[in-house]
Symmetry: C2
Subunit: 218 residues, 2 copies
Amino acid sequence: MITLTEENYIKAIYHLGNNGVNTVNTNAIAEAINTKASSVTDMIKKLSEKNFVDYKKYQGVTLTEAGKRVAVNIIRKHRLWEVFLVEKLNFSWDEVHEVAEHLEHIQSEKLIDELNAFLDYPTHDPHGDPIPDKDGNFTHIDKIVLSKAEVGVAYKCVGVVDTSTTFLQYLDSNHIGLGTLITINHKEPFDNSISIKLEHGDIVVSQSVAKNLYLKKI
Amino acid sequence: MITLTEENYIKAIYHLGNNGVNTVNTNAIAEAINTKASSVTDMIKKLSEKNFVDYKKYQGVTLTEAGKRVAVNIIRKHRLWEVFLVEKLNFSWDEVHEVAEHLEHIQSEKLIDELNAFLDYPTHDPHGDPIPDKDGNFTHIDKIVLSKAEVGVAYKCVGVVDTSTTFLQYLDSNHIGLGTLITINHKEPFDNSISIKLEHGDIVVSQSVAKNLYLKKI
DNA sequence: AGATAAATTTAGATTACCCTAAATATATTT
DNA sequence: AAATATATTTAGGGTAATCTAAATTTATCT
Ligand SMILES: [Mn+2]
Ligand SMILES: [Mn+2]
Ligand SMILES: [Mn+2]
Ligand SMILES: [Mn+2]
């Protein structure tokens, strides 16, 4: 039996540790999950007892294979629900995360399998993040951030790094979303801002925006 | 702030007290919720503090208006999710209850409003139970149980009293579901069993079955 | 009415999760 | 290599929800 709280810790460790590959330290978890470091230490001991993490005092934690399976399954559910909310219930991409945080904990294999089929087996969520299959395999897309893209090449927007409401709404107001075609006109060396060509016309985006938009050559 | 546990207690009190009209005693709640009477007493005190129930020691509880609002809202969510599971995700009517028990606690007004619209504003759940609207109003259907129906009159099945898996599967195996047309051939006085005419042919059902099927004249 | 049974509440613990403050270990400076 | 700063853990408690066993109240039976 795994509790909702344990699931959230495991998910945080997975994300903080670069999808389960790196060691994660206590303070990082505390900040991500909005608790105190001492609470994290307590929970880490419990997760270690249950063999979801490997833990050596003062040395941080890494997920075990079992821990990774739990994490990936929650992420699968989270992203499938996000697709559902956007595709079927008219949520916008900046509204789905909070609700999905709750829906992801519903335990029913049939529910997720049927939802997956109902949504026609989506491979990516509304933010361009890949949806793992039942076995935990992700479909990899070869994407780069706008700040590292080349001038004059035709790209398509395929995802975002930051999924905060403010960033997503900024993109909305500039008519940028998944699938939007983007070509770089000019990179300004002074402040690393970038002038890009969209369907509707040209706009200039700051370096922070450019670092948070994933593109793919078309 | 209301916890998931509090919601479950309030819902149980609502159902046990005949939709919030009767006083409910401690043992009944304990049995419904699968806890001990002493735990119920504790929780009742808390609910009373929060003004969801009226409580006098040793005299049982009744829901306040605020308590009824909470109960009806959870029931609304529960039944809408049940419709979703049956209509969209290929669940059968005996599989939905357990999952809906969890989904009903997800807190998002937009989620439920959009789900309601997506399902095309259903008025009844897969068991024939009415779905309250946002203001808590139920659409009332004039239904009677099969055991009180008249011989020779054409009825339609519009609901069940017992929603247990075993009963619902019994109905499935006898090709009885919501909308099934039923006419009584004969009522056997000896054991109160009833011979009924279905589309597929005649069958005899026991008194226990007859007491758990809701019919409506057509 | 008095005795007995049943229902309900109280007392005292337990588990999960979280907190503050103090102690200890590791990392960074000088 | 100290000294200082930072990160982490431990100690000691708190709250929500649960439990068992004992005490108390209400209901039922002679
Ligand atoms: Mn999300
Ligand atoms: Mn997402
Ligand atoms: Mn149900
Ligand atoms: Mn139902």
